[in-house]
């Protein structure tokens, strides 16, 4: 989230698209209710299903899953055609006026530079034209300005085209577009609430970009009640991502080097982030300070200036990332021997379960750490049709380690709004369950001991890992949090006055502003710096004061970065630093500095008409055109899901996202509409959380049994009775379920064809208190988003038929 849950009360229009907050995030959704009740805010829901969010909406419009970009570019086209643009914001705070290189173009669904064999682009033309002064040329009237290119790019998405692609009736689309366009005035704000309904597509990142661009055109980023608000799924998935527990990440969104970056200097040479416009902060210029401090936190004294701060201790990538899809593909090919799952149940949560089971069976060992008995830990156990595996022939050694759950553990979790909230342990762990920190420490110490005794492959990164804990076998949350915050490694004196100590060895750094690139500071995760400084544990703060009821709660817990509650908040004021909306002030320029209700997202004395609000970008502005930073295009474009009921009407030859990675053999496993005529989608129910709550008796009682949802029309066509049994199958698998025949799902008409939708909730497996059942991953395709490989769970094809139920 750029904003926070409590900030939603400040909005005028809530758009829920790509999510279902009322059911999946009920206690956060109350802030929508608050905005409706107290501000007269309106709620718009755009979804293939008439969800409970839709049931309390002021306006609901149906949409076919996987066509959100066409809808959003349609809204952008509407706003531009009707001059519903917050011009002062767009001109000053976005890259709309910048000129793009000659040669850039878009035709037949493809941007310039496409290479079909590699399914990838040469992105060299997707960039700015630079002037003689080295800065980007700026001229909004130039035929190749971002604005003019955007105008042209979205012009094809007329209301008629939106109806043809999305199945949204034209009048309903126009009503939504009109409601959204009203938020282009400086005194009206819209918030976007989205979740996996947008991310789980082969073009998920571009779904979100499309809305972010719309929000910029309306001037809604950085303001109270505005923003792009991702409703993160798991309680600490924001934290795990911030801390870089991903293939190609280092904490704080730094990146793991590739093998092309053989030395530390080469690695740093592409991370200089020189400003692209005069006087811009281009904050990533500080990259080296964050990187070196991270390396010091990892390897302490072994990280020196002479060895590039232990640069060789970091692994180097040969592919963009070993994401979950790639590693399971490699597993399936028999190229992976060991796998460890910590609180993660991939047998139910990764796509194409048949492929996963075959992949796991090729492992030599599988380690599962979990508070609950997961399906993954028992993938080898035969559960009849629910897990029909040849147990005796599976040669995988499986080790299951019992861990504590939240109630028995202490530490911080980062919520959607980037608040780090500390919690305390209240219960004794059952049986012999242990904290994950203890388990990880034990694994480390045992590995280290083995290497000390036996030697072996390059052991230095393990032997020299900084392990500064009082009890090496059991690091405490406090010790770890302080390391994440960062501390001073060596005294630093004032260069002008050697008697003055600027940083004192052993003290906690106050924030990332104190970090250094010379090895004198260490910091686990720069964006979390400030969470536990010399003032103590700021994440444990519980002061509920909120001056003038802005919803900021600056003294409750701590948010990254530097306790800032709304990102890009400098954009809440105009070019002169005057708030766009006096009734919703956030930050303003008092003549000498920035002041207001939030921690300024800019240098406190940076002059408003000089320094742009988007300080992380070398331009200082936000990007309507992303240059070459996304693999599948500098603008979003409509692409069908890989399995779609109709062809791409704009580019009939293009299947799916042309830049999405598809492994050998998986393309052959995509079904087509002739064989699989129905468009399926997956989702959560309000009574359940993924595959956890099926272990909870009360939740299992509320929703005990797997079902699929279909419309009355489809039920009639296929002779399916409400409550009767059906078989649903895709090219990759088959499930049996009870049918819920509902008015909540309606057939749509897309490109002249009736499209029926099949809804498949995701909470069942073969462990726990519910009846045994299946999940959508028995059916879904093995393909992910072109940029970050989030699997395409939300749009795929199936067939359905009534079957005789089991004999009761």
């Amino acid at each position: 989230m750029t904003n926070s849950w409590t900030d939603i009360k400040n909005t005028d229009l809530v758009v829920i698209m790509g999510g279902n907050a009322a059911e999946a995030h009920p206690c956060g959704f109350k802030w929508v209710t608050e905005a409706k009740a107290n501000r007269g805010a309106k709620l718009v829901v755009v979804d293939p299903r008439f969800t409970r969010s839709a049931s309390v909406a002021d306006f609901y419009a149906p949409i076919r899953q996987g066509t959100d970009i066409a809808f959003l570019l349609g809204v952008m086209n509407y706003c531009i055609s009707n001059d519903k643009v917050q011009w002062d914001y767009v001109r000053a705070f976005t890259n709309a006026p910048y000129v793009i290189k000659e040669g850039f173009g878009y035709q037949d669904g493809l941007f310039t530079g496409y290479d079909e064999t590699r399914r990838d682009y040469n992105r060299s033309t997707w960039d700015y034209e630079l002037g003689d002064d080295g800065y980007v040329k700026s001229d909004i009237d130039h035929p190749r300005s971002v604005w003019n290119l955007l105008k042209k790019h979205v012009s094809v998405y007329t209301p008629e085209m939106v109806e043809r692609i999305c199945g949204t009736p034209k009048d309903k689309f126009l009503k939504v577009a009109q409601m959204i366009s009203e938020c282009s005035t400086p005194t009206k704000t819209m918030t976007s609430m989205y979740a996996l309904g947008w991310t789980q597509h082969s073009k998920g990142s571009q779904n979100i970009r499309a809305m972010a661009m719309l929000q910029l055109i309306l001037g809604n980023i950085g303001v109270r009640g505005g923003g792009m608000n991702a409703l993160r799924g798991h309680s600490n998935i924001q934290g795990l991502t911030d801390l870089g527990l991903m293939s190609n990440l280092i904490p704080g969104y730094l990146t793991i080097p590739t093998e092309k970056e053989a030395t530390f200097d080469t690695y740093m040479s592409t991370r200089g982030f020189k400003p692209l416009r005069p006087n811009q902060m281009s904050y990533w210029q500080n990259y080296k300070k964050f990187m070196v401090s991270f390396q010091k936190a990892m390897w302490g004294d072994a990280a020196t200036a002479d060895n590039g701060f232990a640069y060789d201790y970091l692994p180097k990538l040969d592919v963009p990332a070993y994401d979950i899809l790639r590693i399971m593909e490699l597993m399936h090919q028999g190229k992976v021997n060991g796998y460890m799952c910590q609180g993660f149940n991939p047998l139910l949560s990764a796509p194409n379960r048949k492929k996963l089971t075959a992949a796991f069976a090729k492992l030599k060992f599988l380690v599962v750490m979990d508070p609950l008995q997961t399906e993954t830990a028992r993938f080898w156990e035969n559960h009849g049709e629910y897990n029909d595996v040849p147990t005796a022939s599976i040669q995988t050694e499986v080790i299951e380690l019992p861990t504590t759950c939240f109630a028995e553990d202490e530490g911080s979790l980062t919520n959607s709004g980037r608040w780090l909230q500390w919690h305390w342990a209240g219960g004794t762990p059952p049986g012999e369950a242990k904290h994950d920190t203890w388990i990880m420490a034990q694994i480390h110490l045992r590995l280290k001991a083995l290497y000390q005794k036996e030697g072996g492959a390059f052991a230095d990164p393990i032997l020299k890992l900084d392990w500064r804990y009082k009890d090496a076998g059991n690091p405490t949350p406090e010790e770890l949090a302080k390391e994440v915050n960062g501390y001073v490694v060596e005294d630093v004196r004032d260069p002008n006055d050697a008697t003055k100590l600027v940083l004192q060895k052993g003290k906690q750094v106050v924030s990332f502003a104190a970090l250094r690139d010379d090895g004198k500071t260490a910091c686990g995760c720069w964006i979390y710096s400030g969470c536990w400084n010399e003032a103590g544990n700021n994440m444990a703060r519980r002061d509920t004061s909120d001056p003038d009821s802005t919803g900021a709660y600056l003294k409750w817990a701590w948010s990254w970065p530097v306790n800032r509650r709304i990102l890009y908040n400098r954009a809440s004021a105009d070019i002169n630093g005057k708030p766009w909306d006096d009734s919703r002030k956030l930050l303003w320029w008092d003549g000498a500095k920035w002041t207001g209700y939030d921690v300024p997202d800019i240098a406190p004395t940076a002059k408003p008409d000089v320094v742009g609000p988007f300080i992380m970008n070398p331009e200082g502005t936000a990007r309507l055109f992303t240059r070459g930073m996304m693999r599948d295009g500098p603008f979003p474009a409509h692409y069908e899901p890989f399995e779609a009921p109709i062809a791409n009407v704009l580019a009939p030859k293009v299947r799916g996202n042309p830049a999405a990675r598809v492994f050998k053999g998986d393309m052959e496993q995509f079904g087509d509409a002739k064989e699989f005529p129905y468009a399926a989608t997956s989702y959560r129910l309000t009574e359940h959380f993924h595959f956890w709550t099926k272990h909870s008796q009360v939740n299992a009682s509320m929703q005990p049994e797997f079902f699929v949802e279909i419309s009355e029309q489809l039920a009639k066509e296929k002779n399916v009775k409400n409550g009767g049994w059906v078989r649903v199958w895709s090219k990759r698998g088959s499930v049996k379920a009870k049918a819920v025949v509902t008015k909540r799902i309606q057939p749509l008409t897309c490109d002249g064809k009736t499209v029926h939708i099949v809804g498949i909730p995701l909470h069942w497996g073969f462990m726990g208190e519910t009846k045994k059942g299946f999940g959508p991953n028995s059916l879904t395709p093995y393909v992910g988003d072109a940029n970050i490989e989030t699997p395409e769970y939300k749009a795929f094809l199936v067939d359905i038929e009534p079957i005789a139920g089991p004999v009761a």
Binding site: G28, M246, S247, L317, F344, V698
Partner: protein
């Protein structure tokens, strides 16, 4: 200390809400005591209160857990009730159908209790000690790492990577656990490192 402070704040907040009721008629000076006595019969007097955060979605609702026994005093603590934290700015004491069932997940019959190993081809798990389990994990990791670690690529560039073993990190553990996990996993050269952000 944190807990007491926020309790008082709760009383302050609550007193505003009942100012116009019969309790409010007693006058502001006595209102805290009046309110306290009105709820005393329902107080879970012999239980320890601990503040925590709901483990499910990222709204991160504040919760209060009530236990028999106090973990901080080194006692065995059995959680008997969990409710929403009325002080919390986001959820203000409310919980959803998932959060309202938290007690049952803490005490689920299917909690893992002991380290277990399933041998190749076997149809059952066998209980082992922590030492046995952890020594085995370290052995399996080291053997695979030593055999398949890539120190240099074909071009002679130092790459120090290990791609034949992977690690999937949790998404409901703390940031502190995440950091400890990051250190241990990265120090081995593992690149197949991922979390639930994608699903």
């Amino acid at each position: 200390m944190n807990m007491e402070l926020s309790r008082r704040q709760f009383m302050k907040g609550a007193s505003v809400g009942i100012a116009g009721t019969t309790l409010g008629a007693l006058g502001f000076g006595d209102i805290e005591e009046a309110f306290a006595s009105s709820i005393r019969p329902w107080k879970l007097a012999n239980l320890t209160e601990t503040r925590n955060t709901c483990t499910y979605c990222s709204v991160a609702c504040g919760i209060i857990m009530y236990s028999k026994g106090d973990l901080k005093k080194g006692e065995k603590a059995d959680i008997v009730h969990i409710e929403g934290d009325p002080d919390h700015p986001t959820n203000r004491g409310t919980l959803c159908p998932k959060g309202a069932g938290l007690l049952d997940i803490v005490h689920a019959k299917t909690r893992t209790l002991y380290p277990q190993i399933r041998k190749p081809g076997s149809d059952k798990f066998e209980r082992v000690s922590w030492d046995q389990a952890l020594d085995r994990v370290a052995r399996l990791m080291k053997d695979d790492r030593d055999k398949n670690f890539v120190a240099k690529n074909a071009d002679g560039v130092t790459v120090n990577r290990w791609t034949t073993t992977g690690f999937l990190a949790a998404s409901a553990t703390t940031n502190e656990t995440a950091w400890a996990t990051y250190k241990v996993v990265r120090s081995t050269g593992i690149l197949a490192f991922d979390n639930q952000a994608r699903v």
